[in-house]
Every structure is written in structure tokens, then in C-alpha cells.
């Protein structure tokens, strides 16, 4: 089992989205829209094809985003399961190694990355880490 197949890397991420909602209307969404709904709205309004922010990310073959609100109940006699958080599911198939690709995504689409992951748990820590990676690369 591997994320790497030849030169291609398959990245799969699950990022929890904060529970809660907007306090005021913003970003095209009404007040009290949940953060998962806002994230989904933003994704659905990203540009398509060469207008997609991911078009600027080097070495990307294919990628996708979707918001996972809950898992599906299969019906009796299966047991009922439910998620306590929504998740931003992001997958990408790209050429090369993970860290350079992530750095390329950050460098090429910083504002879009901030916007897409804006309502995810732990974003601030992530951005600080990406910022420090960028700093260390610039210094080397």
C-alpha cells in the first residue's frame, strides 16, 4: 500500500470543518449558514478548468474537493453511525513528491488555499507551518 505509484502521488486528506455558523451574512451566504455550507458554496463557485485556482499549482493532474456532512446509514441490520463534524475531503493526483507539491500549491494559490480551508479546524497552525516552510525554502 502506498501513496506513490511511479512518479504519481495520490494525496487524500480529511480536514474537519468547525461546527457552528456565520454570525452575519457573508461570502454570498446568509447569516447563520453553517461553516460546512459556506465551504461548499465557496467550492461550487470556484472557477472551472483553467480558471480553477488549482490550475496554477504545478504538476497537478487531477484534484477534487467535496464536503462530507455525514456517512450513509445502510439500513437494518446495520448499526446507525453519524459524524460529529463535517469534513472537507480533498484528493489530488500529481507528479512528484508530497512536500514540494504542497509548497507549490501554497506558493501558487495562497489566497485560494486560505479561503477554501478558512473554516477548517486547525487552519491557523497549518498556515503558520506553511509560512515557516516557505521561509526556510527562501533562506536556503
Amino acid at each position: 500500500m502506498s501513496n506513490q505509484n511511479g512518479n504519481a502521488y495520490g494525496l487524500t486528506t480529511l480536514c474537519p470543518i468547525r461546527n457552528g455558523s456565520l454570525s452575519v451574512a457573508a461570502e454570498g451566504c446568509p447569516a447563520e449558514a453553517s461553516f460546512s455550507a459556506v465551504t461548499r458554496y465557496h467550492l461550487q463557485n470556484l472557477g472551472a478548468a483553467d480558471q480553477s485556482p488549482m490550475a496554477r499549482v504545478p504538476n497537478t493532474y487531477l484534484c477534487r474537493f467535496y464536503v462530507l456532512d455525514d456517512v450513509m446509514y445502510q439500513g437494518t441490520p446495520a448499526r446507525y453511525d453519524t459524524l460529529k463534524s463535517s469534513y472537507l475531503v480533498f484528493t489530488s493526483d500529481f507528479h512528484g513528491k508530497l512536500e514540494p507539491w504542497l509548497q507549490g500549491m501554497w506558493n501558487a494559490a495562497t489566497e485560494s488555499v486560505r479561503k477554501i480551508w478558512e473554516h477548517c479546524v486547525g487552519l491557523t497552525a497549518f498556515m503558520m507551518q506553511m509560512g515557516s516552510l516557505n521561509t526556510s525554502k527562501n533562506a536556503s
Binding site: M1, A8, G10, T12, L14, C15, P16, R18, N19, R40, L43, Q44, L46, A48, A49, S52, M54, A55, T60, Y61, L62, C63, R64, F65, Y66, V67, L68, V71, M72, Q74, G75, A78, R79, Y80, D81, L83, K84, S85, Y87, V89, T91, D93, V121, G122, A125
Partner: protein
């Protein structure tokens, strides 16, 4: 929101596995690439750009803050992601027809999996557990997987020809170049839209036309 980008379709399926059988699924994925000819049916289909299966245990759902509620799941979950050419129905039917035993091996331990044959219950199972994509990006929307394979054949053949042609006379070069073109005739073409394969693909094309966008 679209599952379609050019000729590629993004399928997302999430299915539960009993935690005590999840290790069997992991073992199957681990050994399958090493079994001779196990993936031949899949490769022959030639529909797929990339596909992956990811098994996530309940305690592997990320919890990044004490403020985030801890998941309390009863099942492990198998995430399936596929990028393929053609319509949903063509894809699912192709798998069911060409590699039914392979599908059953990968999904057998998933809760209430109906087996890949007969097709209708299998269609219903996939439809029920499929999640729509909110944003899908394809770097080469007009390139089907066969176009990519053709491009690779053309590149490899040209590089080989370049080495052989270094010391040829003009007449021999002309003759061998024509032979090369003959050998590559099935791989040389312009990429363009495929015929409409589904109502979804037709809707995407119509929406783009109304918006004044190029087909892709």
C-alpha cells in the same frame, strides 16, 4: 458543482466496513498488486486515469482541537475515489461485466454489499453511497486515458527514431519516417470533445456554452 471536468468523471463512494474485517480489506489491497495478472481486467478497461481506495478507522478521523467533538463511529470506512472516462453507467457496467470477482474482492467485507452481479442492486449500492464533487479540476480535460497512453507511445517512438535516424540518408530517413507514421497512425489525432455520453455531460456542455466559455 460538477462531477465532470472535460472527459473525466469524478466518483466518490464511502462505505462502512465492520472494524473486525477491515484488516482483510487492507490485506487484499496490499497483496493484489503482487499477484500476477490480478489487475489485467482493470488495465484492459482503459477507462481510468487514477483510482484509489482509502480505509479510515474511527480513530483516524482527524481531531485537531479539543473543541472539536470526538467521533464515536461504530464502523471503519472505505473511501473510493475514481477518475474515469465515459459516463457513470458505462463505468459501473464495465466493471461489473469485466471484473466482477475483482469488485467483489474489494467490496465483499463492506456492510450490505450486494455483489457486483446482478447489476441493478450493485448500481443501487453505488448510487446510494456516492457523494457529489463540489469542485473538480483536470489539467488535461480533453485527454482521455487512452490519449495519454497514445501520447506516451508517440513520445517513446519519436525518441527511439531520433536515435536511429542520426546517420540515415535523406531517402532512408523519408522511408523510415513514413513507416513510423504508419505505426503511430492510431495514436496521432487531435484531442476534442467526445460524443455526449450522458445527460450530465450534456448539461455541463450546455452550461458552459451559455456562459460563453469554450467547451474546455
Amino acid at each position: 458543482m460538477s462531477n465532470i471536468a472535460g472527459k473525466a468523471y469524478a466518483m466518490n463512494v464511502i462505505t462502512p466496513i465492520r472494524w473486525y474485517t477491515a484488516w482483510i480489506n487492507k490485506l487484499i489491497f496490499l497483496v493484489t498488486p503482487w499477484i500476477p495478472n490480478a489487475l489485467n481486467g482493470l488495465l484492459t478497461l482503459s477507462l481510468i486515469h487514477y483510482a484509489r481506495w482509502v480505509i479510515v478507522r474511527p480513530n483516524q478521523f482527524p481531531r485537531l482541537s479539543p473543541d472539536q467533538p470526538k467521533e464515536d463511529l461504530k464502523y471503519t470506512y472505505m473511501f473510493f475515489f475514481s477518475n474515469f472516462n465515459g459516463s457513470w453507467a458505462q463505468y459501473v457496467d464495465s466493471f461489473s461485466s469485466a471484473i466482477p470477482t475483482g469488485l467483489d474482492a474489494f467490496w465483499k467485507w463492506n456492510v450490505k454489499y450486494p455483489k457486483s452481479i446482478p447489476m441493478e442492486p450493485f448500481h443501487a449500492y453505488i448510487t446510494f453511497n456516492q457523494f457529489s464533487t463540489d469542485h473538480y479540476y483536470n489539467a488535461y480535460p480533453m485527454a482521455a486515458s487512452n490519449d495519454v497512453k497514445s501520447a506516451k507511445r508517440v513520445r517513446d517512438s519519436l525518441l527511439s527514431f531520433d536515435l536511429r535516424a542520426q546517420d540515415l540518408s535523406p531517402e532512408d530517413f523519408f522511408s523510415q519516417y513514413n513507416r513510423l507514421l504508419l505505426e503511430l497512425q492510431h495514436d496521432l489525432s487531435q484531442m476534442d470533445q467526445s460524443p455526449v455520453v450522458s445527460l450530465s455531460a450534456a448539461a455541463v456542455a450546455e452550461r458552459r456554452e451559455k456562459a460563453g466559455l469554450a467547451a474546455y
